[in-house]
């Protein structure tokens, strides 16, 4: 295993395979692909990555740094060649700008550009400048030489909080500005770090982009609604809802739909993949989903507004989970025969009783 691979030298073979199989499953690839994933992760093919920050909160980077498989150190030093990341790199000032420039030159057409944050356009984009360049200029310059652009987080994917009304800086998504490169959106506020990781590995392994939906999101992670795999779904189906925070239903873990849960309108794998490597996610802790992976939901609807539910009940052609009658009851033939035999037994007993002497002259024992 190369020192410059996804895993450091002290990572066991078992951990490599566990990670590879897990990521293969996450991407929905055939099981046999896990060896290819492991090869991609362990060979010295660290993709050069340039990570640009614009109008954002760095939450997406934070989320990535909170992942445990791999650890942040392994991630940024071994897994990818993170050549430029404004909040993680050691260098600063002109030195930092130089490394960005050098990397773009050296890896022209090969590096992956990851963009975090929205781009302001008002007054020629003066609201976000790094090294004297506006966000728009930096983005277009970096995107020109990139192999692919991955927008991490809702801001770079859809504009996010900056683009919410009244949008004083006229912020737009990075996705809307890059026209001539393959663009992948990994929205979320923040997104699960594994969705980004899996996307990068997919490109490394197969040399092509994963299947995307109409909002340029990888289908393996954003193909299904939160609502479809929510652990509170049975409560929704049974009509048990929390009406207020900390009411009886809320304490009992009922469905959060009436508190404004956007799960029925939000495509993401949070209810399955979860966060922080320990199986938690907002809904499991009692907060409704805010729909952060949807361009038209978060920052466009109030957190507590209810969304339209399509298909509240399963289609009629699904087997009924709550049939009227279950188990086989009595059928006429069986009842008849059981009755006949029971009756015969009672009749025979009655016959025996009738033939028994009514009195016996023996004296009863004194016992």
């Amino acid at each position: 295993m190369s020192r410059n691979s996804l895993f450091g030298a002290n990572v066991s073979r078992r951990d490599v395979l566990k990670f590879s199989v897990g990521v293969t499953a996450l991407m929905g690839l055939p099981y046999s692909m896990h060896t290819a994933i492991a090869d991609a992760a362990t060979s010295d093919n660290r993709p050069p990555v340039i990570w640009l920050h614009f109008q954002e909160c760095t939450g997406c980077s934070e989320s990535l740094l909170r992942s445990d498989h791999p650890t942040p150190a392994a991630l940024i030093l071994d897994m990818i060649s993170l050549d430029y990341h404004e909040t993680l790199m050691v260098g600063s000032g002109h030195q930092a700008e130089k490394s960005l420039h050098d990397s773009m030159e050296a890896n022209k057409g090969k590096y992956i550009l990851i963009v975090e944050g929205a781009v302001p356009l008002a007054e020629n984009g003066i609201y976000c400048k790094v090294g004297g360049k506006t966000a728009k200029d930096s983005l277009l310059e970096a995107a020109a030489g990139a192999a692919a652009v991955i927008n991490i987080g809702t801001c770079s994917s859809f504009g996010g909080v900056q683009a919410a009304a009244p949008n004083p800086t006229q912020a737009v998504s990075a996705a809307s500005l890059v026209k001539d490169k393959p663009v992948i959106n990994v929205p979320g506020c923040p997104p699960s770090p594994y969705n980004l990781l899996a996307t990068v590995l997919y490109i490394l392994t197969l040399g092509k982009l994963p299947e995307l939906d109409d909002k340029q999101r990888p289908v393996f992670a954003y193909g299904r609604k939160i609502h479809e795999h929510c652990e509170r779904r049975p409560h929704f189906d049974a009509g048990r809802f929390a009406e207020n925070f900390d009411d009886e239903g809320h304490r009992n873990g009922y469905c959060l739909y009436k508190l404004g849960c956007k799960g029925p309108a939000t495509f993401a794998n949070c209810s399955v993949q979860r966060f922080n490597d320990m199986g938690v996610w907002p809904v499991s802790m009692g907060h409704p989903c805010i729909g952060c992976t949807e361009p038209d939901v978060m920052f466009h609807l109030s957190i507590f507004d209810k969304v339209q539910v399509h298909n509240p009940t399963p289609p009629d052609f699904y087997p009924n989970a709550n049939p009227e009658t279950r188990g086989k009851g009595a059928d006429p033939l069986t009842t008849g025969i059981v009755g006949l035999i029971g009756g015969a037994a009672i009749g025979a007993s009655a016959m025996v009783a009738a033939n028994l002497p009514k009195e016996e002259n023996d004296e009863e024992d004194e016992a």
């Binding site: 188990g327 009851g329 025969i337 059981v338 009514k358 016996e360 024992d365």
Partner: protein, 399 residues
């Protein structure tokens, strides 16, 4: 010491292949054919058992009720060995035979009912025991009691060989002569076990349904289920002795055993205690009104209670106790009522969730019927092969 001939017990000398033998054999064959089907086609093919009703009549009748009906040996052993009622001793062997058949077939029907019966051998591996389980306790006690009953019956078999005039098996006779006195010495230990074990598992049969929680209707669901099942087993046991002794008197043309009518005196006391616990518990839990509300469950409760109370009430009168006919009638009422109670706890009062229904399928019913037929068949054959029935001459002497 080997007795010259048994003073109390005797062989019932009659031919074995009677018409009733063939009728019972037919039902037995049908039953075992259905059991064969169950092992080839699976439980679903022969029964109406479902996820809601995993326990049907195989458990409710063969195990929970069948063992109570097989409690004659237990009930009689209490009277003979604990209450020192040796004059009932002539009845003990026929009671033990019934118990042995009842319990052996209870164990057997569990094997029919078990979904993964091939794992049952784990039962004999102590490291796989789950000693906190009520079902485990029932299984251990039933298995152990079967062994104890077999040992208790052994003297009858040995006597047959000891007094055998058939010169074909000299070794067997020699062996029986040797083992009989030794067995006689340790038999009391097994008799004590034979009284302890049913006390343990008959109450556990009640505990099993406490686990069902709110699935069991509140009329029957109570923490007193164990004691109710224990007392229920006792009065069913005494009733069965009366029932069986009367029937064998009629079937084999023997005089009525008047001991049974004295045993009948015990029943009202047991039943009274049972009814007091039953009603006090209903009152204490505030479900007396549920029991008399007149719905389906209430009607079932009233039917079983009236049968039990009615049968017992008749036996409080000497006039009825003296009449073989009325003693028999009240014994039947008590057996039916007592069994009905057990059915109510296991099936009738059990409602796993909205919409679940259960009624045994025809093959399922015929398996139970076949096992019952086999039990009666075995009894009829055994009493004609071994000294089990009371000795009529010895009887007269002691009377």
């Amino acid at each position: 010491m080997v007795p010259k001939s048994n003073e109390y017990m005797a062989l019932h000398r009659e031919k074995i292949l009677t018409p009733s033998f063939w009728v019972l054999l037919t039902f037995t064959v049908i039953g075992f054919y259905c059991i064969g089907l169950r092992y080839v086609m699976g439980i679903g093919a022969v029964s109406n058992l479902s996820d809601g009703f995993p326990w049907g009549i195989w458990i409710a009748y063969d195990v929970a009720t069948g063992t109570a009906l097989a409690c004659g040996g237990y009930a009689l052993a209490i009277v003979i060995y604990i209450m020192n009622g040796w004059k009932y001793h002539p009845l003990i062997r026929s009671a033990i035979v019934t118990s042995l058949f009842g319990y052996a077939l209870a164990g057997f029907s569990v094997m029919v009912d078990l979904g993964r019966y091939w794992n049952a051998y784990s039962f004999f591996i102590p490291s796989r025991w789950q000693v906190n389980s009520v079902m485990f306790e029932v299984a251990v006690c039933v298995m152990a009691y079967n062994v104890v009953l077999a040992i208790e019956l052994l003297p009858a078999i040995l006597e047959r060989f000891v007094h055998s005039t058939n010169p074909r098996f000299p070794k067997l006779k020699e062996f029986a002569r040797k083992i009989y006195p030794k067995l006689d010495k340790v038999l009391i230990f097994f008799i004590i076990l034979g009284i302890t074990l049913p006390t343990m598992h008959q109450s556990s049969l009640g505990s099993m349904m406490i686990i069902a929680g709110s699935k069991l209707n509140p009329i029957w669901q109570t923490g007193f289920l164990p004691i109710l099942f224990l007392i229920n087993a006792m009065y069913i046991g005494y009733s069965v002795i009366i029932f069986e002794s009367t029937l064998s008197s009629v079937a084999f043309g023997r005089p009525f055993e008047k001991e049974v009518r004295i045993i009948a005196k015990v029943i009202p006391y047991l039943t009274a205690a049972w009814l007091i616990i039953r009603f006090a518990d209903l009152y204490y839990r505030g479900h007396l009104s549920t029991a008399f509300s007149g719905d389906y469950y209430s009607k079932m409760f009233l039917a079983e209670t009236l049968l039990i109370a009615g049968g017992a009430y008749m036996l409080t009168w000497k006039h009825f106790r003296m009449s073989p006919r009325w003693v028999f009638v009240s014994a039947v009422m008590l057996c039916v009522g007592g069994s009905w109670y057990r059915f109510s706890v296991y099936i009738i009062g059990f409602n796993p969730d909205k919409g679940w229904a259960y009624f045994p399928s025809l093959p399922e019913f015929f398996i139970t019927l076949g096992l019952v037929a086999f039990e009666i068949l075995g009894y009829m054959v055994l009493v004609k092969m071994f000294p089990i029935m009371p000795n009529l001459e010895g009887h007269k002497k002691s009377a």
